[in-house]
Amino acid sequence: MAEESLLQAEQLYGVKKESIYTVTQLTDYIRKKIRSDNNLIQIYVLGEITDISKPASGHIYFSLKDESSLLSCAFFRQKNATLTFELEQGMEVLCFGSLTIYEAKSAYQLDVALVYPIGEGALWLKFKQTKEKLEKQGLFDEKRKKKIPAFATRIGLIASKGSEAYHDVIVKLKERLPIVNVLFVSSSMQGDYAAKEVIRALSILNNSNADVIIIARGGGSIEDLMCFNNEDLAYTLSKSKIPIISGIGHAEDFTIADFIADKRATTPTNAAELAVPNKREVIERIETLKHKLKKSYENYLKAKHKEKELEIKEKALKKYKIAIAIILSIIVIYFIIKELLK
């Protein structure tokens, strides 16, 4: 700012020029204040991402918000290069960085160094990392999957007793193949102990004579289904001697257990459908075969009858030929004798 303007301000309003800040001076002052305050450097800030933009420069700009405040954030290219997940609008995150001043707007902002996902974002990241790890180990390979028996009659069922999933599986099994024997092991299907309980249930059923095991649980949020992304459970599932059908959540829900299971059903009801054949269809198949067998037997009898008729005709023809031959012989002999007697 020109010296002239400062002098004029002093003359007109009586404010000493030493007491007047220029915008840059004030901004510099605030920046220095911030830099010297340990409470504002290398700090963690929790919030929800909003107003995110990812320009071609590679920098990521967004704001963190909570119920009443908004904080501008800059996540520069050099720092965001190691980010292992996609930052998205609405994602809850924990940011690590230092407060700085953006001179051009005299606005403070967080210079972000690291971002950690929180809530669903964190669970999603954990899911993604576990999936990649297990996939590399070949646990999802189709060639290691066991075949589901065509006619399972002993069904191992792991579900929460009295749950909708339990009910759906039982109703469908009973409807399709009412000769089924269900070996049911009740287990928590969400929460801290769920993975361990499902592992225990799998171990119990692997010592049974079950033909196939169904793991059934209704739909839920990623938090609810998180136990099915547990690594220990994944290894237990992969070692099961008995084929496993996962019927977890809805068609759009995918868990690690679904990728490892020998068959993934879209719902618990669908798991029951995949586990056992439909009695009516099997009976229909057998009835069709019975009809074919009868038809085939009848055709056989007709063919044999024709064969006999042909045999009789052939015999008659043979006899006829002999008779003709005899008659002809007699005639010939008659004419010979007649000639001799002349």
Partner: protein, 67 residues
């Protein structure tokens, strides 16, 4: 992996299919034909009976270690 019922049904079906083939190719002796037909038919009827008798059962094995 297969179980007794699956084996029984599959073997009866395979047996019937073989008999049909033999009847079609007249490979069966006439004196044995009726018995063979009746036997195969009976096997199929037994399969239907086997899956028709409702005996749905739920066994809770929560506490048991080995079944």
């Amino acid at each position: 992996m297969s179980n007794a019922i699956e084996e029984r049904i599959e073997s009866s079906i395979k047996h019937a299919e073989k008999i049909i083939e033999d009847f079609d190719n007249l490979k069966i002796k006439e004196k044995d034909a009726e018995d063979i037909f009746k036997e195969s038919n009976k096997m199929l009827d037994e399969c239907i009976d086997l899956i028709s008798n409702d005996k749905f059962h739920i066994e809770e094995v929560q506490k048991k270690k080995n079944i």
